[in-house]
């Protein structure tokens, strides 16, 4: 029993749009955008775009979760950003008119639209409000990146690990139990975000588990003692 193929609803009816930079577009602009966008389905683990490729459009996540990673030294992967429904991805290289410096890979099955590059630039130019939404989005990402820099520079691995769990909670939210972080990452992926070795990551999660800060079952991480986790992250109030 397969799911029926959904109607191609178009940008008008797209509920995700309202939580994206495109919330400022209206009426005819949406009809037009619809003509320059296409929507694709991705299986977990698939590349949306890859390092070194040339951008041909802007990606907008409809559903599913995406990691933005770059290959560091000795091929070690670094997770730079995490995206979810409503987020645009692949904008940095597009705007700078460069090849991708990072890759986007789905963390679960996803549906992602592509908006044609030339059209995107045109509508940005004609709609200052849209461009300003983009400016604000990049500014936010810059803030997040700079917070990460401070953390990497000044905190130890234990603190960063606790911080990362809080970051995942803030980014992807919790399941119905209000405790379980709503994303499945391997220990290696968490390590690639935290900036540590996989072993250290595993060890620290085990420690947090023993300390009753979290509860582990498979890839699921349940935050059982939020105040203690915040304290472990050493976050100022």
């Amino acid at each position: 029993m397969k799911k029926p193929i959904p109607f191609e609803t178009g940008c008008h009816q797209c509920t995700v749009r309202m939580h994206s930079v495109f919330n400022v577009l209206q009426g005819d602009q949406l009809v037009e955008m619809n003509m320059y966008k296409s929507c694709n389905v991705y299986k977990k683990g698939q590349y949306v775009f890859a390092e070194n490729g040339l951008p041909t459009g802007l990606f907008c996540v409809n559903s599913g979760k995406v990691k933005i990673t770059t290959t560091g030294y000795d091929g070690k992967e670094q997770i730079l950003r995490l995206a979810k429904s409503g987020d645009i991805v692949g904008y940095r290289a597009l705007i700078s008119n460069e090849r991708y410096a990072s890759s986007a890979v789905t963390l679960e099955d996803a549906s992602i639209c592509v908006i044609d590059k030339d059209y995107f630039f045109k509508v940005m130019e004609s709609t200052p409000k849209l461009m300003f939404e983009v400016v604000k989005k990049i500014s936010q990402d810059l803030k997040t990146a700079e917070d990460h820099i401070v953390s990497l520079s000044q905190k130890n691995v234990r603190e960063r690990m606790a911080e990362a769990l809080l970051f995942l909670k803030a980014t992807y939210g919790l399941e119905e139990d209000l405790q379980t972080i709503q994303v499945n990452l391997t220990r290696e992926e968490i390590a690639d975000y935290v900036g540590t070795s996989t072993e250290s990551c595993i060890r620290l999660l085990s420690e947090f588990n023993q300390d009753k800060i979290i509860a582990l079952s498979g890839k699921k991480i349940k935050i059982t003692n939020l105040p203690l986790l915040i304290q472990t992250a050493n976050i100022e109030d």
Copy 2:
């Protein structure tokens, strides 16, 4: 014998402007901008804006060098960005409509203009090209920040220190001898950029000095063996 007070030349004649995001403005726009900007002189070590303050305008560095720093944990300073002539500073908080998350402090005597906040937003809205220049600038800063994240996550202190010297060279250039990095930072400031302790920073610079990679005299750092420095930074080709 004092220097004569220079004519208030205005944005028309400003040569720095051509290397800034404002290079896209023309004619009347420059006359208008002149009415909404003021220029200030700063002594070395002065604050241009301070963490937690409210932005009232956009700063544009005329001459002099500026560090953008934030206070991390236990009050430890983190250098996030370095600015020079033609760079805009204080844009992140302004655009996000937030209080400053970082401070800007001059590294030497400087002359810096402020462009009124409301006017800046108005001219951005009416001049897509200007806003796009801003988008590109922030995108670049994001790229720089993310490169720094990879470095902090994956490289050891020695490699990061070598990388930092190359970064300073790229940012501020070299003196006439084509070897001396054109900026004076204390060892502590370098450490606050690299993400290490002051002692480790001092030690590594001494080592590089012994290894004939650099030559030290006071705060001046001369790169005497660039290939070896690049190799020490472990940068891929």
